[in-house]
C-alpha cells in the first residue's frame, strides 16, 4: 500500500501545480476493460469541455495497455492491476518510465435474496460455495435450501476480482449460473431465494441483501480504508510525467466534482 500512498500524494501535488489549459491534440487511451466504462464516461464529458482534443478510447486488457505504454503507442493505459515487476524491468530496458495514477476502486459485494437469514460469510465460505463444495445454505448458518450460485462470465472484470480475492486461483464450478452483467445478476438474485451472487457496489439496490465478508460490510468507507477484502484499486498509467492534454485529462478524471462523480455513475467507488 505504500506505493499507492506515494502515488496519491504525487497526484495531489500535480493537481495543485498543473495549470488547466486547453491544447489541441489527440489523446490515445487503451487497456483494461474494467476501467473502460470510466474512461468512456469521463472521456465524453472531457471532450464536451475540450472540443479541440480528440480522444481515442479502447479496451484490450490491462496487459495490453501497459505493454502499449512501455512501447509508447498510447498516452494513457488503463489497468485494473498494478504494474508487474517483469513489466517494470521491460520498461527500464526500453528506457520508458510508466507513472501510475490511482483513479478509482472496484468493490464487489456478495448478495443474497432478502429473505435469506445469512448475514455474513467468510472468504473461505464464499470460496467453498463458488467451488461447489458447500451446497446447502444450512451449512453456513442459513435456511435448509440448496444454494444456487450466480456468477459473472469469466471475461468480466468483476469476475476477475472475484477470482483473485475470493477463489484464490481455484475455479468457479461450471454448474454456476452465468449472467452477463451486474444488473442481470442482481435481477436473478432478487427473484430467487436460493441464490447467491456478487455485484459492483454501484449496482446494489433494495431488492437484494448485501452480505458482509469476513465480518466487514462492503461500503465506500470500508473500501477506501482497505478493510473490505473484495476490492482493488484501478489505475491509469502514463508514459513518463504527463504533460499537456494527458495531464489535463487526468486532472479531469481525478477532480472530485467532475471525473470522480462519473466514476460513481459508472458503478465504481470514487477516490473521495
Amino acid at each position: 500500500m505504500k506505493r499507492f500512498k506515494l502515488v496519491a500524494i504525487l497526484v495531489a501535488a500535480l493537481l495543485c501545480v498543473a495549470p488547466m489549459s486547453a491544447f489541441a491534440g489527440k489523446l490515445v487511451i487503451k487497456g483494461s476493460t474494467t476501467v473502460l466504462p470510466i474512461a468512456q464516461k469521463v472521456g465524453e464529458a472531457f471532450m464536451k469541455q475540450n472540443p479541440d482534443v480528440e480522444l481515442s478510447i479502447s479496451g484490450g486488457g490491462s496487459g495490453n495497455g501497459i505493454k502499449a505504454i512501455i512501447d509508447g503507442t498510447t498516452d494513457i493505459a488503463d489497468a485494473s492491476r498494478f504494474i508487474k515487476d517483469k513489466e517494470v524491468k521491460l520498461a527500464i530496458e526500453k528506457g520508458s518510465y510508466p507513472v501510475p495514477f490511482r483513479v478509482a476502486y472496484d468493490c464487489i459485494i456478495p448478495i443474497v435474496h432478502p429473505s435469506n437469514t445469512v448475514k455474513d460469510l467468510s472468504l473461505d465460505q464464499l470460496k467453498g460455495i463458488y467451488k461447489g463444495d458447500i451446497k446447502n445454505w444450512k451449512e453456513v448458518g442459513g435456511p435448509d435450501l440448496k444454494i444456487v450460485v450466480v456468477s459473472r462470465d469469466t471475461s468480466s472484470g468483476t469476475y476477475e476480482v472475484w477470482e483473485g480475492k475470493v477463489m484464490n486461483k481455484e475455479r468457479v464450478a461450471p454448474s454456476a449460473l452465468i449472467q452477463a452483467s451486474n444488473g442481470a445478476v442482481a435481477q436473478a438474485v432478487a427473484g430467487n431465494k436460493y441464490a447467491i451472487g456478487y455485484i459492483g457496489l454501484g449496482y446494489l439496490n433494495s431488492e437484494v441483501k448485501a452480505v458482509s465478508a469476513n465480518g466487514v460490510v462492503g461500503s465506500k468507507e470500508t473500501t477506501l480504508n482497505g478493510a473490505f477484502p473484495i476490492s482493488r484499486p484501478l489505475f491509469m498509467f502514463t508514459q513518463g510525467w504527463p504533460e499537456g492534454d494527458t495531464v489535463n485529462f487526468l486532472n479531469f478524471v481525478l477532480h472530485p466534482e467532475k471525473g470522480q462523480k462519473l466514476v460513481e455513475e459508472a458503478g465504481y467507488v470514487p477516490l473521495y
Binding site: D153, S155, S156, Y159, A173, Q179
Partner: protein, 298 residues
C-alpha cells in the same frame, strides 16, 4: 431512357440486378471467410477434438480450457426441446388458420400471429426472466427458473409465429382442386387435411419448421437472458445450460482483440455456423424431394 431500344434497356436492368445479387453473395462470402479466419487460430492452441469435445470452458483461467462440448449439448437440447413444443403448435395453428377458420377469423388472427413474430427477442427474454422464471420456480419448486426448459419455452414462443405463418402460406396455396377432389370422394374434412393437404404442402411446412429451428439455435438474446448460462452438462430439464450464442454474446465484449479467447469465441461461431448451415441444407433437400409439381405427384 427513350434513346435506348428495349433490348438494351432490358440488358441494363438485368445487369443491375445481377450486380446487386453478386454484391450480396460476395459480402456473405467475405463474412464467412472472416469468421473462419478469426476462428481458426485457436486450433494452434487446442486440437479440434479437444475444442469440440472438451468438457471445460474456462477461457480466461491460467492455463485456459477451451472445451465447448457442454455448450454444443446445451444448444442442441434447447433447440430440440423448443422444436417439440413449437412444431406441433405452429403447424396445427397453421392448419386451423388455412383450413378450418372462417375467413373473418383468419383475417384477424393471421396479422396477430405475424405481429408476435416481430416481437423483439429482448422483450421475450425479459418476459422469460422476470415473469416465467419465478413462475416456473414456484410451480415446480426448483432452485432456479433460469434453465433449459424456460429457454425452450421462450424460443418456442419465438418460433411458433414463424412456423405458423410460413406453413400457413404453404397450406393455403395447395390447389383447391385437390381439396375438392378429396371431399368429392367422400373424405371427411379431417381426412382431407391429414391425407391430402398436409402431404401436398409438406415441402413448405418443413421449410417453415427448419427455419423456425434455425431461428431457435441461432437466437442469442433469449438464451443469454433465460438459459442460466452454466457451462455444464444438464442432468434434468430444469438445469441451467449455456447455448453457444449466449456464450459468444456474454464474452465477446471483454475478450481482448485477437487474443486466444477472442479466437475461441469465433471458433464457437464457426461451429454454430456449421450447425445452421446443415439445417439449411436439410431444409433445401426436403423442399426439393417433396416438391409439388401440379396435382399429379400426390
Amino acid at each position: 431512357m427513350a434513346f435506348l431500344n428495349s433490348r438494351t434497356r432490358e440488358k441494363i436492368i438485368k445487369n443491375i440486378f445481377f450486380g446487386i445479387a453478386l454484391a450480396c453473395i460476395v459480402t456473405l462470402g467475405l463474412i464467412t471467410l472472416f469468421l473462419f479466419m478469426e476462428g481458426v487460430p485457436i486450433f494452434d492452441l487446442v486440437s479440434v477434438k479437444d475444442f469440440v469435445f472438451g468438457m471445460y470452458w474456462y477461457p480466461t483461467s491460467d492455463p485456459p480450457d477451451f472445451g465447448i462440448f457442454p455448450l454444443i449439448v446445451g444448444s442442441i437440447l434447447v433447440t430440440i426441446l423448443s422444436a417439440t413444443i413449437s412444431i406441433p403448435l405452429g403447424v396445427m395453428s397453421a392448419l386451423y388458420l388455412a383450413e378450418i377458420a372462417k375467413p373473418k377469423m383468419r383475417e384477424i388472427v393471421k396479422p396477430i400471429v405475424e405481429l408476435i413474430a416481430s416481437l423483439p427477442s429482448v422483450v421475450i427474454g425479459f418476459f422469460g426472466m422476470v415473469i416465467v422464471a419465478p413462475f416456473l420456480q414456484h410451480v415446480f419448486d426448483i432452485p432456479t427458473g433460469l434453465n433449459m426448459f424456460n429457454a425452450a419455452l421462450m424460443l418456442a414462443f419465438m418460433s411458433i409465429p414463424t412456423i405458423c405463418s410460413i406453413s400457413e402460406d404453404a397450406i393455403y396455396s395447395v390447389p383447391t382442386a385437390l381439396r375438392e377432389a378429396s371431399l368429392g370422394l367422400g373424405a371427411t374434412k379431417l381426412e382431407t387435411i391429414i391425407r391430402v393437404i398436409l402431404p401436398a404442402s409438406i415441402s413448405g411446412v418443413s421449410t417453415a419448421v427448419i427455419l423456425g429451428m434455425s431461428r431457435a439455435i441461432g437466437e442469442t438474446m433469449v438464451v443469454l437472458m433465460v438459459a442460466g448460462g452454466a457451462a455444464a452438462l444438464p442432468h434434468s430439464l430444469f438445469d441451467p445450460v449455456r447455448p453457444m450464442p449466449a456464450s459468444i454474446a456474454a464474452e465477446m465484449a471483454e475478450a481482448p482483440f485477437r487474443g486466444d479467447h477472442y479466437h475461441a469465441l469465433f471458433a464457437t461461431g464457426v461451429v454454430l455456423f456449421i450447425f445452421t448451415f446443415f439445417f439449411n441444407i436439410i431444409a433445401d433437400m426436403i423442399a426439393h424431394k417433396y416438391k409439388q409439381t401440379g396435382d399429379a405427384t400426390l
